[in-house]
Point group: C2
Chain length 349, copies 2
């Protein structure tokens, strides 16, 4: 709106710093043009079987992260993982990302670069690259946005396709991220340093299940998959609605780490709350029992030793959705979890 | 974070409304999966020559738009156009978009849908479709983000490649959007209703030059192209730095509409300020004089009658960047315009 003089820290100089940071060590052969023009360009010269998978997520300060808990690096990491996890949940491999940052005036150039480093490290860890973006000021809160395009020549696993007789399984353990957030929000001297570190680390640096997602998509008899980003309850509800089925989940079968249970006990919380607070970025997999058992064996015996645990079974749609609690009560799992448009308080999402 | 009951207006219900709104009238044959899963999927089954072009933009309340001036529909339209214009500036055609919205608590479901309608109308106008997105709450300001993937089997025109002897031309007329914003910010009884409407409409509903971009990319002798989103001055500076050239622009040659000049006169502003306030979303095209003249003839004689005007010439890099003003003075054009990280006041961008 008014004449500017060129000084250090201008948008163009930041773009130059991003170019250097995001430059792939070994540039993919199909990348024709990266950061710095009106748009980025790639020419996949594709196998006609190639499917492109595209997803986007926006993270907003005080909704998805809080600067008192999350460093700028953590925010960058989390922005990447939220998206990579969605690509993983389709059975695809992340390729390229375009990122946006709205930065408040109190963010310095170093803060912006720290955000970019967290973003880049998570992308590169999964062989994917930031090839473009948009940088703008915000008059108030910080927000970030990332779009990732992934690809696969194999099968895509959606939320649709669950069948009567299928079982529901989840990777890893659930609730660790929620326990970590709870510890950040309400620290307690009874929580030892070691215990604190386990759950807080998992909250701050979640890891998406990219490899497992591809294995699941390649396994016959697996019918659907999604990532658990908003909590087991609400997310199984979404899967069942998409597949037009019911479900029965058994609380006692849900894999909850000892650390999560200990935190719940100390903070006088129900560990199921943590399971439903989301952001574990584990995968939920539905398929026929033999296929799921084969997967369990394969995933847990691979050098990565990723547990896969059956937590329930698919029912006919008219039978509804049930979560059988350990105390004998039954609740509707789809009513547990995170819905931005229902819950008014700030927290994670 | 806490149990929710399903009520109207939940995230899932909004997603259903989006699905219905964004559904293409004639679904593209390569679109396998749209809104509602972890990610959207398309299988272009591609011509090995196909290049994908990807761009993203984030718009933030009180930086890129103000709710007192821009309706939710306008904000959606603007979000789409900012991105489509970048795709146009590469010579590509927009195909698919994924959009995000962070909505403050005072935005109603109807406000959200009005934003979505503006977004959808602009996308559909250029035969492109929203196939996914993310919806979240904001604790404060509204922000939007869109990523568009476009494609072309033809040539890509970047900002690099301007050569000594080339001329610089721009489509349409510059400064109308800036004049429109000025009228919105400081209305003046001397500005008649008709005059007001011309410039305000152009500001609120900009139109990207998709067709012209493709024509330019297909014209031999055209060497580079970019869209003018931050103002002629700063944007020609970016092009010259990318191409390692200098430039001389002649103010008297810049196409400025009579309406823009009248507004400048009434508001006692310099019309060059409007030219440099950006958001006209016109294209800047650089090429050898014969090629540009051929383009001028073609574009202005087509039923669309889009003017293309030569505004300057490319110089050797050591000669620097010059804007020859009508009053005889010379300024550096790259120091005029909008840089989010230099200008602290709120305005457009």
């Amino acid at each position: 709106m008014c004449p500017n003089t060129q000084k250090p820290g201008s948008e163009s100089e930041l773009v130059e710093m991003f170019k250097a940071l995001f430059k792939p060590e070994f540039p993919p052969s199909d990348l024709l043009l990266g950061i710095g023009d009106d748009a980025a360009v790639f020419e996949p010269g594709v196998d006609p079987e190639t499917k492109f998978v595209i997803t986007t997520d926006m993270l907003v300060e005080d909704v998805h992260f809080r600067r008192e808990f999350h460093s700028f690096y953590d925010i960058g990491w989390r922005t990447a993982v939220a998206n990579i996890s969605d690509i993983a949940a389709m059975g695809a491999h992340p390729r390229y990302g375009v990122a946006s940052l709205a930065s408040p005036h109190d963010m310095t150039t170093e803060d912006i670069m720290e955000f970019a480093r967290g973003l880049n490290d998570a992308m590169v860890a999964f062989e994917s690259y930031v090839i473009g973006g948009d940088l703008t000021r915000s008059t108030d809160k910080m927000s970030t946005s990332l779009t990732i395009i992934g690809e696969t020549t194999g099968r895509i696993l959606t939320r649709t396709g669950a069948q009567l007789g299928d079982v529901v399984a989840v990777t890893g353990s659930l609730g660790v991220s929620g326990a970590g957030l709870a510890v950040l929000q309400a620290d307690n001297p009874l929580i030892g340093e070691e215990l604190r570190e386990v759950v807080v680390n998992k909250h701050l640096r979640p890891v998406p299940r990219v490899w497992a997602g591809q294995v699941c998509a390649g396994t016959e008899g697996i019918h659907c998959m999604m990532d658990i980003s908003d909590g087991l309850g609400i997310d199984i509800g979404r899967l069942c609605r998409a597949s037009r089925t019911g479900v029965r989940i058994f609380e006692e079968q849900i894999p909850i780490a000892d650390e999560t249970r200990k935190i719940a006990e100390i903070l006088n919380r129900d560990s199921l709350e943590f399971v439903n607070s989301g952001e574990d970025f584990e995968l939920m997999v539905v398929g026929d029992p033999q296929a799921v058992e084969g997967l369990m064996h394969f995933l847990s015996n691979h050098p990565y030793t990723l547990p896969l645990t059956i937590v329930g079974e698919i029912l006919d749609e008219p039978l509804g959705m049930h979560l059988a609690r350990i105390d004998g009560s039954v609740v509707n799992p789809s009513e547990l979890g995170w819905d931005h448009f229902r819950t008014r308080e700030q927290g994670n999402g």
